[in-house]
Each structure stands twice: as structure tokens, then as C-alpha cells.
Amino acid sequence: MASYVLRRILLMIPVLLGTTFVIYAAVYALPGDPVQALAGPDHVVTPATAAAIKEHYHLGDPFLVQYWHYLTGLLHGDFGIDLANTPVSAIIAASWPVTVKLAVMTWIIEAVAGVGLGYLAALRAGRLPDLAVLGGSSLVLGVPYFITAYVAQIVLGVKLHWFPVSGTDDGWPLSYLVPALCLALLGVPEIARLTRASVLENLGADFVDTATAKGLSRSRVLVRHVLRTSLVPVVSMLGTNLGYLLSGTILIEGIFNLPGLGFQVFQSVQQHDGPTVVGISTLLVLVFLLVNLVVDLLYGVLDPRIRLD
């Protein structure tokens, strides 16, 4: 177990290096003048400003040296300084609680609704609940979620006044409910379909027959044996879904004015604030990788056949 965790962490290093490298290269090395990009595209850059920016961001150095500077800074917890001279780590510190609240709520909705609907569909395979879940999931996948979010905002917030229109003034959970529901629409259809397929597969497995033959009650067989085993691929998907979820916060937090990490990226993009975008993206990638490690460690807990070593 310990050696498995160690190996997984070692495997994360090249991936993390690769991702930060791509992000860094994208922002600082692609066509376009980095000094102008750092100063903002609409600013007139005086020679003195240009020199100061070059000095500060080590732009005179070769690209790999620049990347090395950024990386060592990152390892010391230094995410750089944004265009308004605020440390990016301060922006992150101020905005992560909002994103965590939103993400956790979305994740819970995804897990409960996705697994519940998929389980229901599998137990009633080929009948009305099954067809409703399958049809409904196609429909939800077909409508882009940011459009659903806008419509929900207009109908539930502006017209009906049932929920806050935007912002976090009403606190958790009220302000986060509609945004989390809209964001969960990204994951629920896929999780429901996967749960359905997985449960259907396990219903016919030998260990289910064994459990039934031992005289266990139907509900105990379904929950302890079928559902538990069926959750393995679902948990894995919940992990990979986190990537989409974190991406989704950019649009959802932007639409609902929740001042989280995604909202900061949304704003920084519009203000062409490179350092903030790079810093927060790097953090999101790191979180994604760590969560997926934890998810993989959960496999062994769910399915006793899987041994991690």
C-alpha cells in the first residue's frame, strides 16, 4: 500500500511538470509580445516599464530558465504577482472557500442523483424509469450547461424570486444551490449511465448468485454486493469528472457572480491578467491530480478483489 502510494506520487511528478510546462509555455512563449501581454494589450508600454517587466519576470533569460524560476517559486508556495501587484496566492486564499463549497455541493448532487437514477434505471431495465433516465440524460447532455444556468437564473431568480439571482450574500447553502444544480447537470447523466451499465453487469455475476444462494435477503444482496461492487467505476468517474467540474466553475461562478477561483479566472481572462490565470490553473491541476490519487486509493475499500500493491 505504502509503496503503491509512493509510486503514484512519483508518477504524478512528470504529469505535473508537463502540465505546468504547457500552461507556462502557452502564456509566455506563444506568438505575441509577452511584455505587452503582461502589461495588458491596451496599455502603451514605455521603455522603462518594458525594462521593469522584463527584469521582474526574468524575460531576458532563455525560456527554460524562466520556467525554472517559476517552478522553484511554485515549490516555495509563490504563485507570482498579478497585474495589480497583489500576490496571486492572496487571491487564491480569498477565493478558494467559495469554490470548495460549490464543488463539494455539486459533487454530492452528482453522486446522489447520478448513482440513484442509474441504480433505479438498472433495476427497472427496459421499463419506464429506465427509458426516462436514458432519454433525460441525452436531453441534459444536449443542452449546453451555461445556457441552462442562464435560463435557471432568469426563471428561478429574476422572475420567480425563489432563489438569489447572484452573489453570495445569502450564504451557504442558499446562494450555492442553483449554481451547484446547474453544474451538476454536467456530471449526472454520465454517472447515471455508468452506474446503470455497471449494476446491470454485476446483477448477472456469479458472486451475486452465491450471495443469493447463501440465503441473504434481496435488499442485502442488492446493496452490499451489487451496489458496492458497481460503485468502483463510478467512483473513478467522479474523480475524473472533477476536471470538468473545476472547468465548469469558471462559467458558473462567472454567471452567478460567486467570487471563487473560477470567477477569478473568468475575470483575469477578460483583463488579460496572465499571472493569475497561470497560478490558478496550476492549482486546479494539482487539486485534480491529488483527488484522483485519493479516488484510486478508495478502489480497494470498495472492491475487496482489488489489491493495491
Binding site: 508537463g18 502540465t19 444536449g142 470538468y244 469558471i250 462559467l251
Partner: protein
């Protein structure tokens, strides 16, 4: 596994049936296509897709149905007005006819969807085949590269790259979208090739002295491409959504371009007063994505034997 792969042999029909994916239709599996053609689940989305493609190809033929049909003939006195005769969707903030704008918006959205999917498909088939067939170092390099791109929250990566581009054209947006969407299909292609390369007829071809290129092109790829090909239509739907999201937050296409994303982006400030500005582009966008996804679902169910 062998039995599961046999129905996948005629790879061409799925490619031919998916709009936009170019592929030589060698041998058409009559049975499956005939069965499909009688299902409303298949031909309804297909009809919408064909209609939208026609709209994208010759927008002027559709734009003039009700009024003048010129998206650029605008007058500010009509700014934000609701539907009137000759202008069924009303006017946008600049006083341009919204209906003809929405019709003309089909071209950029579908163009990016089809171009990106074609690019993704090519990369997935090439890299997936190489990784799956040769294994070893090739596989390790390609797989780690996939991990890097899987590690990204996709939208964040696309924003970062697009932000640094000065020109946001159909081509540049498609390239960026393809850059972040290839790993999904590549991974599927790789595992499909892995399953195919050990089959007897591949071994037989190798024993007969066929080189790796010939084996890949004639024996492995045609038999392994099915799981990827059936995902083409769903991918188009996903790409159209992604493009609209990017344009919507302001890093995709921008104003002089006419696209649904641009229209949604400019509707952001006005939708509480003029909900039509948001509603009509959103309706067309959803219709397009929904049709591609439903069509893809249906194709996947019909052609991917593993999901039966």
C-alpha cells in the same frame, strides 16, 4: 473479445453515415443501416443535422425566408425590438434582424465542430494506433502525454492558450479545441488497437511477411476504428458546446464574426430586458448539439457491439 470485434469489420458505414467525417464507403452493412433508417430516434436528429449543415453551407438561402435576410443591414431605431412582420425573432441591440443573424451563425459553430472533430479523429487514429500497436517506449511517451492533457481542466487550458492568440479565427479556435480534445479518442483507439493486434489474422499477416505499415493500414486500423468512429457525432456536439462556452466568456470568436456564441456573449448584458436575444441563439445552439448527441447515441448503440 474475438466475437465482440467481428461485427465491427465493416468500418466504413459508420464513417459514411456520420456527417462531416470523410471516409471511403467500401462495403455498406445494409442490415444495420436499414434498421436505423426506420427509427425516428435516428432519422429525426439526422434530418436536423442535415438541415443545419445546409444552413451553414448556404445561409442566404434560409435567411431570406421572412424578410431581407441580410445580417449586416441594421438600423439603430429598431434596437432590441421584439418580433414584427418580416422579422420573426425581432432585432438585436444594434438593430440587426436577429433571425438572419442566427441563421448565419450556423456556419461558424458547425464549421468549428466539424473541423475540430476531423483534426481530433486524425490525431487519435495515428497516435492511438502507434501506441497500441508498437507498445514499449512509443506507448509510454504517448500515454504520459495523454495524462498531461487529461490532467488539465480542459476549459482552463483552452482559455490559457486562446488568450495568447492574437487572431481568433475558425482555424485557430479549432486547433486549440483539438489540442485539448484528442486524448479521449486516442485512449479509446489505443485500447481498441491493443485488442486487435493480438488477433489471429494479424499474426497471420505478419507471418506472411507484411510490414508494420501495411498491417496497420490494411488489417488493424480498419478493424479497430469502429469504437472511435461511432463517437464522432457525439464529439461534434461536445465541440460545438465548448466553442460556444469559450466564445461566451470572450476568448473564442469575437464580434465581427457571426456565431451563436458571439450572440450569447453580447446578450449577457441585455437578457433581463430582451430575453429573445438569449433565447433564439440558445435555442439553435441547443438544437444543434442535441441533434448531434442523439444521432451519436443512436449510432453508438447500433454499431458498437460492446454496448449491446
Amino acid at each position: 473479445m474475438t466475437s465482440a470485434l467481428q461485427p465491427a469489420t465493416p468500418a466504413a458505414p459508420a464513417v459514411a453515415a456520420v456527417p462531416g467525417a470523410a471516409g471511403p464507403s467500401r462495403r455498406v452493412e445494409r442490415g444495420t443501416l436499414h434498421r436505423l433508417a426506420r427509427r425516428p430516434r435516428f432519422f429525426l436528429p439526422l434530418a436536423v443535422v442535415v438541415l443545419l449543415c445546409a444552413m451553414a453551407a448556404v445561409p442566404s438561402a434560409f435567411a431570406g425566408w421572412f424578410g431581407h435576410g441580410d445580417p449586416h443591414r441594421c438600423s439603430l431605431e429598431h434596437s432590441g425590438q421584439g418580433p414584427t412582420s418580416g422579422h420573426p425573432f425581432g432585432f438585436d441591440v444594434q438593430g440587426c434582424d436577429l433571425y438572419s443573424n442566427v441563421v448565419h451563425g450556423a456556419r461558424d459553430s458547425l464549421g468549428i465542430g466539424l473541423l475540430t472533430t476531423a483534426l481530433t479523429l486524425v490525431v487519435a487514429v495515428v497516435l492511438g494506433s502507434l501506441a497500441g500497436y508498437f507498445g514499449g517506449v512509443t506507448d509510454m511517451v504517448i500515454s504520459r502525454l495523454m495524462d498531461v492533457f487529461f490532467g488539465f481542466p480542459m476549459l482552463v487550458g483552452m482559455i490559457v492558450v486562446l488568450e495568447t492568440f492574437s487572431v481568433h479565427s475558425i482555424l485557430s479556435v479549432s486547433l486549440v479545441l483539438a489540442l485539448f480534445s484528442w486524448p479521449v479518442l486516442t485512449r479509446i483507439m489505443r485500447s481498441s488497437v491493443l485488442a486487435t493486434r493480438g488477433l489471429d489474422y494479424v499474426t497471420a499477416a505478419r507471418e506472411l511477411g507484411a510490414g508494420p505499415l501495411r498491417i496497420l493500414l490494411r488489417h488493424v486500423i480498419p478493424n479497430a476504428i469502429m469504437p472511435v468512429a461511432v463517437l464522432t457525432s457525439i464529439t461534434v456536439g461536445g465541440v460545438i458546446t465548448a466553442e460556444a462556452s469559450l466564445t461566451f466568456i470572450g476568448v473564442g470568436l469575437s464580434a465581427p464574426a457571426i456565431s451563436w456564441g458571439v450572440q450569447l456573449n453580447s446578450a449577457q448584458q441585455y437578457f433581463t430586458v430582451h430575453p429573445g436575444l438569449l433565447l433564439f441563439p440558445a435555442l439553435f445552439l441547443s438544437l444543434a448539439v442535441l441533434s448531434f448527441v442523439l444521432l451519436g447515441d443512436c449510432l453508438r448503440d447500433a454499431f458498437d457491439p460492446r454496448l449491446r
